[in-house]
């Protein structure tokens, strides 16, 4: 039973990782500095809840005023496109992103 449960959890994790790779990394690529973006969100929004909300708002309706990147950067590379993912899936992806890259869980 324990073995089965462990296998199920491993399967779910791999499935989630695969989905994050498919939905996020496919565009941003290998060199995208995910930890720098998380650092900027953390500096501006502080708490987990506010960071997740801000990312969600931005991905749903990308806007120069909502972006945490410098305006010069936006001018050069332009705004990202709206996410095609439904709210539930987008929130799930943001959860995975936060879990992987948040700074607070690294503190010891």
């Amino acid at each position: 039973m324990v073995k089965k449960t462990a296998l199920f959890i491993l399967f779910c994790t791999l499935l989630n990782a695969w989905e994050f790779d498919k939905n996020c990394l496919v565009c941003h690529g290998e060199d995208f500095k995910f930890h720098i973006i998380m650092n900027k969100y953390t500096l501006k929004y502080s708490s987990e809840q506010r960071i997740k909300e801000a990312i969600f708002e931005y991905l749903k309706e990308p806007d120069i005023n909502k972006s945490i990147l410098p305006p010069e950067y936006i001018k050069k590379f332009g705004l990202k496109q709206k996410s095609n993912l439904d709210d539930e899936k987008l929130k799930k992806m943001i959860d995975i992103y936060y879990k992987r890259f948040n700074q607070q869980s690294k503190i010891y």
């Binding site: 930890h35 650092n39 953390t42 929004y45 506010r50 607070q104 010891y108």
Partner: protein, 383 residues
Amino acid sequence: MYSGERKSILYVLGLYLSSTILLIATFFTSYYYYEQEQFIHSEKEILKKYTLEVSDKLSALSESSSERLQYPRFEDFNSAIYDIDKNLIFSTIEDINTKNVKQGFYTIDADSYLASPITPYYLGAAYIVIQKKSKDVDILNNLIYIAIITVLITVITSFFLVNIVLKPIRENIKLLDNFIKDTTHELNTPITAILANVETIDSSNCDEKTLRKLERIKIASASISNLYQDLIYLLLNHKTSLQNVDLNLSQIVTQRVKYFTNMANMKKIEFILDIKEGVHFFADRQKMERLIDNILSNAIKYTNKSTKITITLKETYLSIEDEGKGMSKNELDKIFTRYLRFDKTQGGFGIGYSIIKSIIDDYAIKIDIESKPNKGTKVTLTW
């Protein structure tokens, strides 16, 4: 110490001490709050410095791309960080509240805390809490010691001060006592001579006019003799040879009333006697006579002409009631003060009630004085 001196000393001491203590209390309270403010200010400055140190370390740490971030630790103090929603991120402080942060400076037990908001939110930290051991400053205990010493010094100085203030009064009283003492000694021989000779005059050989004159001389001599006895009693400071015996009080009261009859007749005062036979009291005869004489002579002295004085003696009390001018409440309060006379038109030294008080105190007799101005006075002795 003369009568009332203790009271004066206590009044002045009370007034001086209470005003000084009030002043000290005001000064110490202000000093206490000033010191506390100073303590808070100095603690806050140190904690602010520590907050900046933690903030700098967090700033450097937030730039790191390392997989593990070591939270800054210091020897002199502990710290904790909270996010904007006041959830604890990390802490080196034991027993820290994980769900909320109390802002500003505060102390718990022997520790000082300062919680300050910071921006930007390095590692998500919106608040930094610093905890350090408070400086060991026991302001209150030090103040209590100083206050006790100051109050003691004040008590001692005020005692000397009161003595200095009372010195001239004391000297005046002593002068008065000496004067009375000298006068009394000079009175002794003539009084004895007058009384002895008046008693030996053969009244059968005198005409009516001479008899009246003789009567007046007797009354005057009795008054002087009475006064002489009072003064002697006071001068010897109540140290007359005490002989407490079983006295027939009924007999003594009757005798004393008889003694004062001539004096009363002069003012056409009628004595109404209600004396129970066989009332006994264990006391010194001389003292009891002084007691009764003083109350009776006061009643005669201060009562109006053609009135009545009612004397009642029962098993447990003696009351003497006159229809005289009476006394006000204020006069009644000061009645036992020596040398104090309310009515200067009457003779005397104002020592009657002072003697009464000392005798009733000796025998634990309770005195009750009921008096109404222009109605009369009733003195009741209960034992």
